[in-house]
């Protein structure tokens, strides 16, 4: 029983990363119709930034947790203004290609400066050790990640459903023309929303730094799994993306634990689930059928 609880907990923790990344992707996609390939690269920049801040300037984890998302968010906004903005009127494929190119550039820039080897990042002292919940000891840092991610998702949900800003964002996501007709300046929200999504990716990166190996390629393979996650959840649905993120984390952890004879399972199970969803509900579990192209 405690084994099951442990697997479930670990699944939820890795699901938290999927959820944060999928949430950012979904918000950006909703507002801009852009699938941001560089999302994984910004996650990597978040982790790397935290590492560089600590080793080269002595900036502690808690400060990095604020600095990196804000900094990357601003960088994202500049990026949106500079290039992505020019392509949003075209087929979304062009921005996908653009952000793919950016991913290669960002990865190689970091690689040039810091090499490809992984760098360790110490767990902040406040969060070292473990917490006992009766069944067994959970590492404190992982409990913190899970709590923090859930809190963030709830906060985003609250902003989207309970505030005026959220209402505008949701309206311009679903019916941009109609929203404009009501005299709301949709364009004004595009850049901040993009920056926010990038900031979330950076935040996930900082959170990942003490737990996972910090290296220039850490976001590359992750982003593809996150793409599968949002196909499963339905990219148009913010709730679906988050739910699918946690769900896939769980399925992967259980698969790893109970199908350990087949090491291939934990890596490929997400794609098998995606295949099943495409057969059963092509628009994703929580997605709506896209308008016929």
């Amino acid at each position: 029983m405690s084994g099951f609880a442990q697997n479930t907990f670990n699944g939820l923790v890795s699901g938290a990363f999927y959820a944060l990344l999928a949430l950012g992707l979904a918000v950006i996609f909703g507002m801009l119709r852009v699938v941001n390939f560089a999302h994984g690269a910004f996650y990597m920049l978040g982790a790397f930034g935290a590492y560089v801040l600590l080793t080269e300037a002595g900036v502690p984890f808690w400060a990095a947790l604020l600095i990196m998302p804000v900094g990357l968010g601003l960088l994202g906004m500049a990026l949106e203004r500079a290039v992505i903005h020019r392509l949003t009127r075209l087929d979304p494929l062009y921005n996908f290609l653009l952000t793919f190119g950016l991913t290669l550039i960002l990865q190689d820039l970091v690689k040039l400066r810091y090499g490809v080897q992984s760098s360790p990042y110490a767990t902040p002292s406040l969060l070292s050790g473990s917490v006992n919940f009766g069944l067994f000891d959970f590492p404190t840092y992982r409990v913190f990640i899970l709590g923090f991610a859930v809190l963030l998702c709830v906060a985003v949900w609250w902003v989207l459903t309970r505030t005026r800003i959220g209402m505008v964002v949701r309206a311009s996501t679903e019916r941009p023309d109609l929203t404009r007709a009501f005299g709301i300046d949709v364009g004004r929200w595009v850049t901040p929303v993009f920056g926010f999504g990038i900031g979330l990716a950076g935040l996930a990166g900082v959170l990942a730094a003490p737990m996972r190996a910090v290296n220039p390629l850490m976001g590359a393979d992750l982003i593809i799994v996150v793409f599968a996650v949002v196909v499963i959840g339905g990219l148009g649905s913010i709730f679906g993306s988050v739910a699918a993120g946690f769900g896939i984390g769980l399925v992967q952890a259980w698969g790893e634990a109970y199908l350990s004879h087949f090491p291939i399972v934990s890596q490929t199970i997400v794609f098998v689930v995606m295949a099943g969803v495409l057969l059963w509900r092509p628009a994703g579990l929580f997605g709506r059928e896209e308008a016929p192209a």
Partner: protein, 336 residues
Amino acid sequence: MTSTVETPADASRPAPSGLVAVAHAPGWVRYALLAVGLVVAAWLPNGLYPAVAVDILCWALFAVAVDLLLGFTGLMSFGHAAFWGTSAYVTGLVAIHAGLPFPLAVLAGALAAAVLAVPIGYLAVKRTGIYFAMVTLAFAQMVYYVANEWRSVTQGENGLQGVPRELFGVDLTDDYYFYYAILPIVLLGLAAAWRIVHSPFGRVLVGIRDNPARARALGYPVHRYKLTAFVLSGFIAGLGGGLFAVGHRFVSLDVLHWTTSGKAVIVVVLGGIGTLWGGVLGAGIVVRLEDWLSFSGFEAIGLVTGGIFVLVVVLFRRGVWGSAAALAHRLAARRR
């Protein structure tokens, strides 16, 4: 013939300018272009390192395969490394273990790629647009993981070593002669792609690209057409991948990596989406450039290819062939 197939300049999808312009160029222009192309192909290993020329041929097939989907069916596959790479592995394994002449091994590899394209295509064509790109990317990554874990067959990260270049005892160890040995196969593959695009089947594909709802209303089974195009494209990509494996005498996991899929797409965009031969040009440019960069000891090749990607997408969406064709078209129109 006046331009009847000219589609309206619709900014929302890749402009099919190049092929239309060439298809309506006077006959002598088309034959002249073909002649120039053949002469360049026959001369290539004399002007470049033969190994680079071989790579260009393989990538030309890969790019044309991707353009068949992207330019003529309106589907951007971001996972074509799955077919290129699967064929590379199957070709390598067949050549190593069965000792067959390399064209048969390549054929086996391409067939394996086509077989793999059936389930992936069946699932992927359920989505369109950007989702299609994400789904194909995800399935290709699955193939990558499988190859990575299945070490007893693929040798994992060590790669398949010592793929032979067997051809009835002919000595093909020199890349110069190997180039001419594969040239007929590559030309056959390119001709097949041309034939597909200009067949009634290809016309239906373009119709589906431009207006899927109308194609469906006219009674065309849209999914089945897309799937057929996907499998054919997988086969042609497989031809390229198989030749690539024999050409390098080595297969590494890189052939299945997502950067390989992405590179194939950028080769097509650089050459010109929907121009078919633009992909051949794009392959020449990118392979030559990468060779030059690695030769000059520049490590961050991704920085340059990524930069090209960004520049092409922002400033040069028609690509080399597309821009040239559009220019020629405009000049011809002015003269008339």
